[in-house]
């Protein structure tokens, strides 16, 4: 019987090790400004990310990645609705930019994503 449990344990452990790709998260973007693939003017870009769930703003972040790869951290506005992450970015040089977001939904799940957009 002991051997049986040992075998069952080893098999279970191997099964667990064999599926390392599952994910836990669920805050996703319902709508965004700029939208993915959009072209905007670089003077002032109003960033408005609307999520499907309420988020913990203090434990979320927004980062802009410049065409040369340099990262610029943005400070999320504190007066946004509970399911939004907003910020303003000014004086962005022309080129292909990426807005990288990471949010913690209030039920404890972390999600990340990228929004590519172009500044003319």
């Amino acid at each position: 019987m002991r051997a049986f449990f040992r075998i069952a344990f080893v098999l279970s452990a191997l099964w667990f090790l064999a599926h390392p790709n599952a994910s836990q998260a669920h805050a996703i973007i319902v709508s965004s400004s700029p939208a993915a693939g959009a072209t905007v003017s670089g003077d002032t870009v109003a960033i408005r990310l609307h999520f499907n769930s309420r988020i913990d703003r203090a434990r979320s972040k927004l980062t802009l990645l410049a065409p040369d790869g340099a990262a610029r951290a943005l400070t999320p506005a504190s007066d946004a609705p509970a399911d939004e992450l907003n910020a303003d970015a000014t004086r962005l040089p022309a080129g292909a930019w990426h807005l990288r977001w990471q949010v913690l939904s209030v039920d404890g799940h972390i999600t990340r994503g990228d929004i590519p957009f172009t500044v003319h």
Binding site: F4, I7, A22, S23, A25, I28, S105, D107, R112
Partner: protein, 551 residues
């Protein structure tokens, strides 16, 4: 930290599944003690001290496990926040989920300590209060807590859903302990009748809560088959139907027991064992479901019905030869993939830390993968067919079917990793540095050992003892773990179509494993029927693999 982030997503789901299991066993144990054992004990013919001690020991173990797993989950999530946001640990732990986790762990610890002695009135009240608080805090870690709109109906539904699962699934081990501990038919009748009533009430809570959640989180028929959330809900429904069939069997047996006290209860016990196994699978599927955004939130890029039908329509012949670039069909396939990729370029992306990006695949990769799946399907269909043939007097030779696992292991060893020895340029030991190759090689070894092990079991027949149970347990476990597979968070159609084939595979695996368990653990009609069910489930698995396509 990078290693932690790499496995963060997977560990979160596994921990969530284990937490739901420990929580069900804890709350189920309390419900059993307060609603069944306490009130019935004066009417039972045995004193039942041993039964009570065993139940309390299992309850304490479950509650301790719940406390430990919750702390582990808190530490994991906080570590991911600290690692990605560079915030202090104190700030990470003080998030909403952190505070809820701390209260749940404290409640579980309190239950473990209080459950140490007999349930007097004051102690019972304290245990009840702690369990209600733990359940309330647990609802703060569900989809309901973060919805932007009205949350109370969803929070209540979630609490009812989890409480129902705890009373029914979580109460089963205690039910089995009580049935095994009592020797009198009158006691069995009382215990089984009361537990049957509790289970029916629990099923009502599960179904009502589930319906409210399904209406709010799925919202439309198109989202049922068009999103991963809907498909996983269907998988849970399939498992619930299996459980209800077993529950109905038990209900009729309990009714017979009421009329005729001499009715044997072996079937009741064996069905309860299978209910525990399938119940744990449901909880793992529930953990997987919490990792997905509700289908109602993904109105764009859903799978259309005709796309599913097109993918599921069997193609003949299966891909049993290696891919060749020069073939026209492969070139056509490449064009189709390029088109799909172009459509994905502007889609919203979402992923968890460490998940990485989806690598582009070409037609050759896909053809290679399909080729592997189709050959695996051939082996599995043959295994199922031989297991059926074995039933006939003229087919005794077919009992050597486990040797087909060796053939399958050899095939996978040569073909699973085209870059590794003996086909590719990477040497045997060098290739083991790639985690995916190492994983495949471990699997190959496992399949070979498993084949030899099961072959020995078949040769020894009824003398094999508990070793015979390894095969059904492994099959059922494999099916259960398939339901915790990775999900594309956003609606990425090609990934979702691949995931869709996992769900029927998982359900067939679970059905096959537990049918074989019943065949071994029971006798009579049910055992004979189960002996036909699991090979058929195996054949279905093989046919699904033969129909597997990635584009």
């Amino acid at each position: 930290m990078y290693l932690l982030l790499d496995i963060f997503g997977y560990l979160s789901v596994v921990l969530r599944g284990l937490i739901l299991i420990a929580q069900s066993f804890t709350l189920g144990g309390l419900a059993f003690q307060l609603l069944l054992w306490g009130p019935l004990q004066p009417r039972l013919s045995v004193y039942g001290l041993t039964i009570e001690e065993r139940c309390r020991a299992f309850l304490r173990f479950s509650a301790f496990a719940l406390a430990l797993l919750t702390v582990a989950s808190l530490a994991l999530n906080a570590a991911a926040l600290v690692g990605t946001l560079q915030v202090p640990w104190s700030e990470a732990v003080s998030a909403d989920f952190g505070r809820a986790d701390i209260v749940i762990a404290a409640c579980a610890l309190g239950i473990a300590i209080l459950a140490n002695g007999p349930a007097h009135r004051l102690r019972s009240a304290a245990l009840l209060a702690l369990s209600v608080l733990a359940l309330a805090m647990q609802t703060r870690l569900t989809h309901a807590a973060s919805r932007p709109d009205v949350r109370w109906p969803l929070l209540l539904s979630d609490a009812g859903h989890m409480a129902g699962a705890a009373v029914w699934i979580g109460g089963l081990p205690y039910f089995l302990i009580a049935l095994n501990g009592c020797k009198d038919a009158g006691d069995w009748r009382l215990i089984a009748r009361r537990y049957s009533l509790m289970s029916m009430a629990a099923v009502a809570a599960i179904v009502c809560g589930g319906l409210v959640m399904a209406a709010n989180y799925i919202g439309s028929v198109a989202a049922i088959y068009g999103t991963a959330y809907g498909v996983m809900t269907l998988a849970k429904l399939g498992l619930l139907l299996m459980l209800l069939m077993l529950g109905a069997g038990n209900y009729f047996l309990v009714e017979r027991l009421r009329r005729d006290p001499t009715t044997p209860i072996l079937r009741l016990k064996r069905f309860a064992e299978v209910e525990i196994g399938i119940g744990l699978t449901v909880l793992l599927a529930a953990a997987s479901l919490t990792s997905l955004p509700p289908g109602v939130d993904l109105p764009r890029d859903r799978l259309a019905w005709h796309e599913i039908v097109e993918r599921a329509t069997p193609q003949w012949p299966p891909r049993l030869t290696s891919p060749d670039y020069d073939k026209l069909t492969v070139a056509q396939l490449q064009a189709k993939i390029t088109l799909a990729d172009a459509g994905r370029a502007n889609a919203q992306a979402a992923y968890v830390p460490g998940e990485g990006t989806i690598l582009p695949r070409n037609a050759e990769d896909i053809a290679w993968s399909e080729y592997n799946h189709h050959w695996a399907g051939v082996f599995v269909v043959l295994i199922g067919l031989l297991a059926l043939v074995e039933h006939f007097r003229w087919g005794r030779w077919a009992r050597h079917w486990p040797l087909l696992f060796l053939a399958m292991a050899a095939f996978l060893f040569f073909r699973a990793d085209e870059q590794a020895w003996p086909l590719g340029p990477a040497g045997f030991f060098e290739s083991l540095r790639d985690p995916e190759v190492a994983q495949h090689r471990i699997f190959v070894l496992l399949i070979a050992v498993f084949g030899l092990f099961e072959w020995r079991v078949r040769l020894r027949g009824s003398k094999a003892g508990p070793a015979a149970l390894v095969f059904p347990l492994t099959t059922a476990l494999g099916g259960a773990l398939l339901l915790t597979h990775s999900h594309a968070i956003a609606n990425i159609k090609d990934q979702l179509l691949i995931e869709m084939s996992h769900t029927p595979l998982a359900l067939c695996g679970v059905a096959a494993g537990w049918a074989r368990w019943l065949e071994l653990r029971l006798d009579g009609r049910v055992s004979r029927a189960a002996a036909w069910i699991w090979p058929v489930a195996f054949i279905l698995v093989g046919l699904i693999l033969l129909d597997y396509r990635e584009a």
